[in-house]
Every structure is written in C-alpha cells, then in structure tokens.
Amino acid sequence: MTSLQKNPAMRRYYSRFVSTMSAYLVLLLFVTWYFHRYHPHGLFAYILAVLPSIPGLGFMVAVGLYLAEEIDEFQRNLMIQALLWALGGVLVFASVWGSLETYVHIRHIQYSYAFFVFWICYGISIPFLQRKYR
C-alpha cells in the first residue's frame, strides 16, 4: 500500500488501479455526455447508466488481487487497515448525512458518492498509517 515499498504486487496493484481509474473517468464522462445529448431510455438507458460502476468493481478486484498476491504480511495488514478506515468513513458519512437529510432536510446526495468518500477516506488513512509504522 505504501508508496514506500514498490514490490511486484504493489506495482501490479498501482497499474490496475490507474487502469480502472482511467476507465472509470472515461466512462463517467461518456455516459454523462450521452445522457445530456441523446436522452436514452428503456433497457439501453439502464445499461448505459450502470456502465461507470463496472470499473468500480474493478477497483475491488484490484484490491482483492493485491491482498492475494502480496507476500509481505505487514504490507497486507496495512492495506486491510486502510480499507477498514475507508469503510468506517463511508458508514459514518452515510449515517451523519442521512440524519441531516431526515431531520434538517439538507440536500439529498446520490448513493454513488459513497464510492468517492470511500477512496477519499482510504487516501487519508494511508499517511496516518505510514506515520504510525514509520
């Protein structure tokens, strides 16, 4: 997980991460543009709408492969800790935002934001974990 240790498993993880991130951005931009321009409907619209979430699954696959391929148990442990912090962050965010929506009627946000919150929390947790085990 660390930028510190560039072992083969980590290099493959970064490569997969960048590939899926690129695919995600391209699909997101394409689908947004297509919906604005052509207003698709029916089954095609449903298929098109879920397209950007496929690379999201790719992220999970990249993480799963890293955990399977990493031979350094401590690095694996760090990744798992970062993922748990990210998961906790999403749950706390969803809980707080949900309560605010229910009781003080703040703006509703799309569920797909959970994806961003997860990776933001993951990114924030890494320097803290690195600092802890420096």
Binding site: I71, F74, Q75
Partner: protein, 64 residues
C-alpha cells in the same frame, strides 16, 4: 511482544534493509516488528528464527 531482533541484527552488522531483503519483506515491516508495533505471524517468526539459527522463543518473548 518484545523481541531481540535489533540485537541479533546488530551482532551481524545488518541494517534493517539488509534483514528485510533476507526475509523478503519491506524495511517498514522489519521496523514494525523490531519496535513491537507489529507481531509477525507464526510462519514469518519461523523464517526469522531460521535466519538467525535460533528458536522463536529465544527471539520473541510474550512480555508486553
């Protein structure tokens, strides 16, 4: 869990990076084990013991 890794490493004049290379783990892993922030699994503890030609109990103690 306390351990004698730092002493054993010093006796051989190995840096953390040297030990990490021999164990095929990251230097950060060696540091975390050495400072007691991370307890290695049994297979890694055996690898460490074999490398230092010692027993696990001679390297690791269950004192906190």
């Amino acid at each position: 869990m306390k351990n004698r890794l730092r002493v054993l490493r010093a006796e051989r004049e190995w840096s953390q990076a040297d030990l990490a290379e021999r164990l095929e783990v990251s230097r950060q892993s060696v540091n975390a084990i050495e400072t007691g922030k991370y307890d290695p699994s049994l297979p890694l503890a055996f690898r460490i013991a074999r490398l230092f030609e010692s027993s696990i109990e001679a390297i690791f103690t269950d004192e906190v």
